[in-house]
Amino acid sequence: MTDYILEVQNIHTFIGEFHILEGVTVQVPPGSITVLLGRNGAGKTTTLRSIIGLTPPRSGQIIFKGEVIQGRRAYHIARMGIGYVPENRIIFRDLTVAQNLQIAERQKGDLDRKADFIFTLFPDLKRLYTLPGGNLSGGQQQMLAVARALVPDNDLLLIDEPSEGLAPVIIEQMMEAIRQLSSHTTVLLVEQNFQVASRLAERYVIIEEGLSVHAGLIADLVQDRDLIKTYLGVA
């Protein structure tokens, strides 16, 4: 047996006729934050979507908690204990904040059990509870999207660019929340903002044109200016 909660082994994913992922390998140890790095269009989002089953890989293997999950339907994979926070903070605009959270319940009472934890992380949501999601600001919607993934008991959270388009103060708040929730749940994060990524994560995987090209400890990556420059274009 491996020590990883999630193992993505050499997956190939197609969208229509396009070969988007051409060999991505990601290993996520439990109880940590791992970040996927890479330029725009590298395939980070597609990797997360492949894991949750929204764009199932055509070959390769995905093992979650010791079980092979690729090929299963997305709802089935999610129920095994994976929470997904998509890119662009997709919350349900017509539903209230309360309903956005209720819909994520997998068992009756999930929300009651988690409400305190969620409101400690995101106090704003308590005040906004009865408003339609569409009326929330960008930052509040992002908080709701993360909170929604916290309602059921998940062992792994896939969080796609939580800082995208947010003001610096809100980013700080979001980082603090992710740090706190990561003490309960393993996190696989996509983050373009290298500052944010390097402060949050312990491990990284770099994806370049649909291929995972590098992986290791963030602490080592921060030292390696050349690597950063080659693959991420930031100095």
Partner: protein, 332 residues
């Protein structure tokens, strides 16, 4: 309800204003042109038609919103509901009330099962190919129409007597009307409210509304969205069948009724805004009223109902010019 109005977007608030102003204008024109009683009768006919259209349009709108399938077979569901209902109503040996209830139950169940078979067997395998789905429902509509003609013959079926408990008349706007007409309105209103409560107060309804926006995200939360798709398809089919059966004691059953109501329903969901439930409900009544008033206008002035069909198409064009996403649709 109050929170509904408080949380309206500016666009939808304006749409409400337009609807209220337009309906007031229709009523005012009718009053001036036809006089009090005829105007009242016309409005009553319009509301009645609106309720019947709603029974087809609500399913069309829900199915389109959630499944992204424009279901051209929705008219055929009304048609089959009407013929099966007619069949049961005329062939059973019991009192009219019992026969009527039996007609409703058997028509709704028959069409519901048909819908379930269609969705799981034919439409589901094609979710990756939306164009094929549209062609498929189009083809199915034609096949179902043919089957009904083959089985029941081409001749129109005359309206049947309303069930005993509704077979009385009342006077409204100086006109003697069957209580059955009130019953149709009551049925339409009950469905409007019933589906509204389903969508707003139940977990399944909340899942449906979320799925209308993003069914993929609903799946990713751990919800078997395909099951909900089937459920909504069956619900839409059943509502249309109910509308068809309700028509039998009012207008009888004809082979054309399916397509007539399908066209009205398509106009309704375009005007109301694709995928918007409130839009469908409001637009149904607006379309019903418009058609009734236009029909009466052209009868009074040209001795023929020439304006009836064109009026709703004109209305649709005007709405699309003012608001391309429909009155209560979302501007993307």
């Amino acid at each position: 309800m109050l929170t509904y109005f408080a949380n309206l977007s500016p666009q939808h608030r304006r749409s409400w204003g337009l609807v209220v102003a337009y309906v007031a204008l229709l009523l005012a024109v009718s009053y001036v042109d036809f006089g009090y009683n005829t105007a009242g009768q016309t409005a009553f006919r319009g509301i009645l038609l609106g309720m019947l259209v709603f029974m087809v349009a609500s399913g069309l709108s829900l199915i389109f919103g959630l499944l992204d399938v424009l279901n051209f077979a929705q008219g055929a569901f009304l048609l089959i509901g009407a013929y099966v209902g007619y069949d049961v109503y005329t062939s059973l040996d019991a009192g009219t009330t019992v026969r009527f209830l039996a007609a409703i139950v058997s028509g709704v169940v028959f069409v519901g099962v048909l819908g379930a078979i269609m969705e799981t067997g034919l439409i589901r395998p094609l979710y990756d190919r939306p164009v094929f789905q549209i062609v498929l429902t189009f083809g199915l509509a034609a096949v179902l129409l043919d089957l009904v003609e083959r089985y029941y013959g081409p001749d129109p079926k005359q309206p049947l007597d309303p069930p005993g408990f509704l077979d009385n008349n009342f006077t409204l706007f100086d006109q003697s009307l069957s209580y059955y007409r009130l019953f149709i309105i009551f049925l339409g209103l009950t469905m409007m409210v019933g589906v509204f409560l389903l969508l707003n107060r139940t977990r399944i309804g909340i899942i449906i509304r979320a799925g209308v926006q993003d069914s993929e995200m609903v799946q990713a939360l751990g919800i078997n969205v395909r099951l909900i798709f089937t459920l909504v398809f069956v619900l839409g089919a059943a509502l249309a069948a109910l509308g068809g059966i309700a028509l039998v004691p009012y207008q009888g059953a004809t082979l054309e009724m399916g397509n007539q109501f399908l066209i009205l329903a398509i106009v309704v969901i375009v005007i109301g805004g694709m995928g918007s439930y409130e839009g469908t409900a409001i637009a149904s009544i607006v379309v019903g009223l418009t058609r009734a008033v236009a029909e009466q206008l052209s009868l009074e002035h040209f001795d023929a109902p020439v304006l009836a069909e064109t009026s709703i198409l004109l209305l649709m064009i005007v709405v699309l010019l003012v608001q391309p996403s429909g009155l209560f649709g979302r501007e993307e």
